[in-house]
């Protein structure tokens, strides 16, 4: 059965020309300087900036022309300059959040930055709560994307929905 395909975390590594301290600050406080908003945002062409509030409970929030905001996630671990973790639900309901963790390790005069995107399995477990939360998120997204259908948001939503379906079927089968 193809449903046995593992829902493995996504892992990415990049080495940057900076100290861990600077690499951490650039990823977090200075996220608005480098995040490719034009292609990876909720507001796309209307996206103005993205801000990460540097504390546990701080939000990652995109500011969109016209005074709108889109929350992408909430900081769950703040350990400069070693580690930052946050929930991840751009354009989606927080109840369907996945988890991102980024670690910063010295590597000579550079820093190795490792990103993990996980929490796909978790999605299948909170079924009833998520089902209740879902129509709110959906209405919000449809209102914003009825015409444009931004890929950044659609991909995350579609993947989440599909992975939830698989996780639920697996749970039933177990």
């Amino acid at each position: 059965m193809t449903d046995a395909r593992p829902i493995a975390p996504l892992r990415k590594v990049v080495t940057v020309k900076a100290t861990p301290d600077r690499a951490f600050r650039r990823f977090t406080e200075e996220i608005g300087r480098w995040w490719p908003l034009a292609s990876h945002s909720v507001g796309e062409a209307d996206a103005e900036t993205v801000v990460m509030e540097g504390r546990v409970g701080g939000r990652i929030v995109e500011r969109i022309r016209g005074g709108r905001e889109a929350v992408w996630g909430t900081v769950t671990a703040w350990d400069p300059p070693r580690r930052v973790a946050f929930t991840w639900h751009p354009g989606d309901d927080p109840a369907r959040a996945q988890d991102i963790e980024v670690s910063f390790t010295p590597d000579g005069d550079r820093t190795r930055v490792a990103l993990e995107h996980r929490g796909f399995e978790r999605l299948g477990k909170a079924g009833p709560r998520m089902r209740r939360a879902y129509p709110i998120g959906w209405a919000y997204v449809l209102a914003l994307y009825a015409e444009r259908g931004g890929l950044f948001v659609i991909a995350v939503r579609a993947l989440t929905a599909a992975l939830m379906a698989i996780a639920r079927r697996r749970r039933r089968a177990a």
Binding site: T2, D3, R5, L10, K12, V14, T15, V16, K17, A18, R22, A23, R26, F27, E30, R33, W34, W35, P36, S39, H40, V113, L115, H117, R131, Y134, W138, L142, Y145, A146, G149, L151, F152, I154, A155, V156, R157, A158, L159, A161, A162, L163, M164, A165, I166, R168
Partner: protein, 101 residues
């Protein structure tokens, strides 16, 4: 680029609703027609697009044909996320190149 087809298929709001509906449980065309309140040929057409994108697959159950999410499309969407983080981290790493020494 398999995810390109998936995302194009899901760019249509009706197909997103349809796909979202299928995540709860497998549905027949008749059930989907009642849910979406569009004609049966329209539902079949949407299902066809989703099936070609490998987001949805069908199986026979007795005399009925049931539609459900297809893991192949999901793997493709995961490919999109993979690519997304590659692009994002490239932009991040590139930002240090622009720094004055």
């Amino acid at each position: 680029m398999a995810y390109g087809h998936c995302l194009a298929a899901l760019a249509d709001p009706t197909r997103r609703r349809l796909f979202d509906r299928l995540r709860r449980r497998p549905h027949s065309v008749g059930e989907l027609t009642r849910y979406l309140r569009v004609s049966q040929p329209a539902v079949s057409q949407h299902l066809n697009v989703l099936r070609q994108a490998r987001l949805v697959r069908s199986r026979a159950e007795g005399t009925r044909r049931l539609y459900q999410p297809d893991p192949a499309g999901i793997a493709a969407l995961r490919g999109y996320l993979d690519r997304m983080w590659t692009d994002v981290l490239a932009a991040y790493a590139g930002s240090f190149e622009d720094d004055r020494p």
